[in-house]
Symmetry: D2
């Protein structure tokens, strides 16, 4: 999707503005309407703040209606395809569109329990989460009081809106909604970057599923040409990096046992801050390695 | 099985000696008979050497008969239970008694190809191998010449005999047929041994199977009370150590993210020398770790 | 000095007992006299406890006399050679017999200030200290109250006595007055112990002095045949281990730059627990190294 | 010194051109004269190549005169101040202007031996060297044949010229005559960059001298705001980085012993490639550290 420049948004007529931002808040074009009058916006952050202010300034019933306008996570509407395009893509990002029957039943049970306690749908910014962390948040937030939970739901709606703005509007500033995952392989046997190391990144699920989400080969500097993940939040969850070091060392003629002591080195770690920078390097010889959370 | 003291073996009458060692060489009591006359043996190594000398001194046809007296690996006789007790236990140690149909067919095919080329059964000291490394050796040795392969088969028979002697006879010396796998966990955040870390050892197969073969918890010195493997060869193959470090750090009150950056740390490595000492320690904080082949 | 067996001490006549232990407490044979009546002692710890009990049970004036019977540290009596043989050897262990004029003056000043405030000599178990840590304790303890300082002085006298007993009496138990400093060099380029690495241990002083106190070469296991320090307390202070790794790597034919990136690797650390076990290993390639406090 | 833009050099009249480059080759304006006719130069590399070509195209006697026009290193002319400004600054960069009498005598002896064997002065691009490596090269090159040494001397003259061009002329390309030394401190106890760590860089001499050449404090990213050395060659020689880690850990409230196990961590390494990028990071807790040659 081509992004619209903030300057053009500032200059757009009302119809153009509403076409661009009317659905940033789910089924609540009144939020964009309120922001429309505040133009021009010098920054994306100012636009985002104006929309949040409109929500906070609205009467409580209107805020509740906004909350209630959201679809259930992995709910029947999602299955039936009757939710908004944005919601659909967001739910898919966390794998909510490919649940097993057991998982679908678990979401169903949690949705019901949540609706019964709070009278509203469970809202979470799914792009910042994996299936596992959504379920964990679900269980945890079920313990909240009504007022704490209303606040939490609004916070998540603001995060969803920030990500939608980030995807649509081009500006000189950013909303700091992106994380980054990168790596670096140092051949400490030869004292130089390890070039040509194949690396895979997998997302791990509590149920044992492993999903390959990136694959790259290290360049002359021992890095991947692009970060393994960038330009979006890092979903909270567990990951595994796999470094194919035996192939690399065979390629540079290093002495290895047969079979080699180290072959594919797995490094398992969790992301806890979706907007964080995770640098997970490997210092490696055929006989030892170190890894760490760098920056 | 209680071991017999070498002194008692030296003092035993012929029946006692043959009862103890008659089947060290498969279906070949003549090897023990030859050694009987060399008594007394000062060391186990001397006994082993005397038996090997008897084999090497025998006419070529007798050596070939010795070789041919061995059962097929994972063959029909093994399935039918008509092989010697020793062979049965040895084949089970490498998992040859629990092959899938596909694997059984693969062994069947290799056995046939080997018999067709060499006119004898494929012999390997299975206690030094995993299923994967047996298959690898099988493919590799099929490329040998007849004379090289006869030498190789004899060498394997000597290794089998050494392990049988090691299991039966108690002496002041050893035959250096044991390997050792040990670990050590250092908490480099606190500068002390990590006590109470749960550790699992798994054997990995090329087909994705993972079999738990040891489990232990680190003691006050960060070590396991017993080596993870000792008193026997380390089967050539791939392994994974799993260190449950998030539980440990939670227990000592260290600050960790939620979810913790490191949880269960997997360290994958291969054993290439069954009689080697593999020390695979972990130096770990909640944010980094190093591992290496130590000694 | 040959040690006396505890059994012999138990069986000795009064003269023999007093000859052995009469001067364990400086100028205070009454302490040994009191212990004499408690014989036999099953353990060295019991003997040490009996002597401490005698001191604690004595009238306050007698305890003060005991304290006052000690010589000044690095005082005029020490210079003039009129202190007991034991005190002389102990003061020499921390280098108090080779002070510069400035240091002598500093000790003189501190001794005077201490005597003026507390009316007794400054007592410290010098075998557990370096010159630097003695001066640090001196400054710190000058801030104490009279009663706290009397307790501290007695505690130090007990430590001195424990070390004297440890040096003289052979028993099945020990008084846990020994520390240990050891090292280990792993060649993580080759995945094996580094054999033949020259290692030096230096004691560092705040004034920049460096004194070589041990030198060793690693054996087949990458360790030194004997710990670098053992059988005595480790003096609190700063140390430097020097690992001659370029010579080692040249010897094993490893590729190095000219000049080699790493040559003599210095590892500086402090000892804070004189009775602790300090294991300070080096994991090293020609291009990187790790070191840590192990156990 | 303000640099002259390459475009301006291309547009300059002959006097301007010669003023800028006439002394790039020592006492040999004819080299610049030859290049003058080749203008315009698209790149600095092309200018450098044109000047080298002029030297290579000159008759052998003229090349020898060029070589002989250089002053002795640390020679009497340098002491008397009668050498060119450029030579003087270059010799000072390696400390040749502050030699001890013994070192001056050593240079004198080597200069004499070299002149006697080769009939010309010893020429080396001193900005790429330390005093120690100059002496080492001196001894080594004294073993050369006349023709090899003439080639070596010319190569050094070209390096000197490249550095002089690099300092004077601004262009879009560079002559790749700069090295870089940088560092990075990771607090692996807390899993984040170590901010506020004081770092010193010292140049070490074989005679035990230590000269502080840079000092910096790590920023929010654990790096120094500027590389420790950049914009010039890294002199071949030995260096020590000193990381003040005890102060850092005290500042962030980490538990340390008294005295702290690690205080100022010294990392000694050598530079062998003056145009190389040396990244020497530290991964550190109060109880362990790793360092390596990175990139």
């Amino acid at each position: 999707m081509t992004k619209m420049a903030l300057a053009n948004l500032n200059a757009a007529d009302e119809a153009g503005f509403m076409a661009a931002l009317g659905d940033v808040y789910e089924h609540a074009p009144w939020v964009a309407q309120a922001a429309l009058k505040q133009r021009p916006f010098a920054t994306l952050a100012a636009l985002h703040a104006a929309m949040m202010d409109a929500v906070r300034a609205a009467p409580p019933e209107q805020r509740l209606t906004l909350i209630k306008g959201h679809p259930d996570l992995a709910g029947k509407a999602a299955r039936a395809g009757t939710i908004t395009v944005e919601s659909k893509a967001e739910q898919a990002s966390a794998g909510l569109d490919r649940l097993s029957e057991a998982e679908f039943a678990q979401f169903h049970r949690l949705n019901d329990a949540y609706r019964e306690k709070f009278g509203m749908p469970f809202i979470i910014c799914v792009r910042r989460h994996s299936k596992d962390s959504i379920l964990q948040q679900f269980e945890r937030r079920l313990q909240n009081t009504m007022s704490a939970e209303t606040e939490t739901a609004l916070g998540e709606i603001f995060r969803i809106a920030a990500l939608r703005l980030d995807q649509r509007i081009e500006a000189t500033d950013g909303l700091e909604v992106h994380g980054r995952l990168s790596t670096h392989v140092l051949d400490t046997q030869a004292g130089r970057p390890a070039t040509g190391v194949m690396i895979e990144l997998l997302e791990l699920s509590a149920n044992g599923e492993q999903r390959m989400i990136a694959r790259a080969t290290t360049n002359r500097d021992g890095r991947t040409d692009e970060p393994l993940i960038a330009g979006r939040p890092l979903p909270i969850g567990r990951y595994e990096l796999r470094f194919h070091v035996a192939d690399y060392f065979a390629g540079v003629g290093a002495r290895q046992d047969e079979p080699p002591f180290l072959d594919v080195v797995p490094v398992r770690f969790a992301v806890a801050e979706p907007e964080g920078h995770y640098h997970v390097p490997l210092l490696v010889t055929p006989w030892n390695y170190c890894t760490y959370r760098g920056s």
